[in-house]
């Protein structure tokens, strides 16, 4: 399936629940709403033409203004790849777990919860993960967080 075919297919299938981002010019990035997340994931996984059974990666982004969460999906049988993206405000950031769709999302979501402080609903095992057990210095991947002894790289001209 080419880029255009995929985009038309997905926009037809989901209508206004899904929107192609302009940053997705290299590969399709679709913006979705977090209420529809699990529903859309379930749909793309079970759809006969897509079969997105492989969850490559989940990454959170702190843009400095908002949180983004990116789901990189792939299909093993159909050789399709595209990405879904959520955008949310800092305040009360939370997202539903997609573990019911891809069980391998478990650790990715734990990492997001720990390093960004985004709450994951319906996640069975939100425990300390990469950081030490007694960690109490907030969420280190946030843009406004710096380690106490952190030295910036000199600027490149």
């Amino acid at each position: 399936m080419t880029f255009e075919e995929l985009t038309t297919y997905l926009t037809e299938k989901f209508g206004d629940k899904l929107e192609l981002l302009e940053t997705g010019k290299f590969e399709p990035f679709f913006l979705i709403k977090k209420e529809n997340l699990v529903e859309i994931c379930e749909a793309v996984k079970t759809d006969d033409k897509l079969l997105m059974d492989f969850l490559c990666n989940i990454g959170a982004v702190d843009t400095g203004e908002k949180f983004e969460i990116v789901y990189n999906l792939a299909s093993i049988k159909k050789h399709i790849r595209f990405d879904l993206k959520l955008v949310m405000e800092y305040k009360g950031a939370e997202v539903d777990s997609v573990m019911s769709v891809w069980i391998g999302a478990n650790w990715f979501e734990r990492e997001i919860w720990e390093l960004y402080g985004i709450n994951i609903n319906n996640h069975p095992n939100l425990k300390r993960f990469l950081l030490p057990d007694e960690w109490d210095q907030g969420h280190p991947m946030l843009k406004n967080w710096d380690a106490p002894d952190f030295k910036r790289m000199p600027e490149v001209e």
Binding site: T23, F54, C56, V61, G104, N106, F129, L130, M153, V156
Partner: protein, 371 residues
Amino acid sequence: MTEGLRTEEFQVNMGPHHPSTHGVCRFILTMDGEVIVRAEPVIGYLHRSLEKICENRTYAQCIPVMDRFEYCTSMSCNEVFSLAVEKMAGIEVPEYAEYLRVIMLELNRIASHMIWYGTTALDLGAITPFLYSFREREDILDMFEMTCGQRLTYNYIRIGGVSRDIPPEFIPKCKEFLATVDHKIDDYERMLTENPIFMVRNKDVGNLSPELAIAYGVSGPSLRASGVKYDLRRDDPYSIYDRFKFDIPICHNGDCYDRYVIRIKEMRESAKIVRQAIEQIVDVEPNTGKMVKANFKPAKGEVYSRIENSRGEMGVYVQSTGDTKKPLRVKMRGGSFNQLQVMPELVKGVKIADVVAIMASLDIILPEVDR
């Protein structure tokens, strides 16, 4: 009666400094005698916050950081990040540099599988194979050293090309290596493949069904051992892999033995690719590409690029805002991360010795998990 005889479960902390957890991983094993009831991996002992470090550097400066992401196959780490940025900035890599990349990637894959072979044998109690495989790995490292001066963290594949051309003595040395590597792999196979003790330790141990493997995101040789023919070099081609003829070995039981067989076969296939690349590279005009400067700034965009690493799918997600020289976000994804995640499913009800065998066969290394 059996209720009355119930023995007490106890917990064993396997790691973080344990000889066979391949780095610093800790398993909290709940055991009933020697049988494992539950296993919980505890990671983070090797967490260096590479992603945060990358956010503080320019794109070109990120490459040495990527080296540390998965130090057994640093070339792949360089490649995956370069691919992402090249895609975003629309940089064309010259053909010659692509050939060099493929040669380095595949040699690095062989070297990585040699580490895996040695440590697997070591984890099962056979010490000698370890030294055999490291002897050949030494040849590969010598080749890398003569090319880029490094033996572990190469920093060779850069955005836009490679850092320097291969020296004239590289090709003869490589040909010499390729001429013998198949015999050396035969040697490896003679030591373990048909060894009854090795077979009894690995057959039907840690069976991973294809459904479970896909659901957990297991990739690479471990996935192919479960019967899923999925190799990114063919199914989502990057670089110039579509020019080479090679097989994708596949097995169907998904046990430790199959994962062993797959990796052994993959070493031979990688050697095949390098052989073809060495033949073809002489006809290509030497041009190692124009490396980007440290102050290089790609356009606004985001990319998730992925390649087939020796431990499965290695991916990196890069987002650029377009107005700074530094990436907004670099998210690394290593195969070991998902392979370790599936471990608790595989080790339920096995003996403590099998934990070691299963972990070795999945080829988990911890820097890739903790980043």
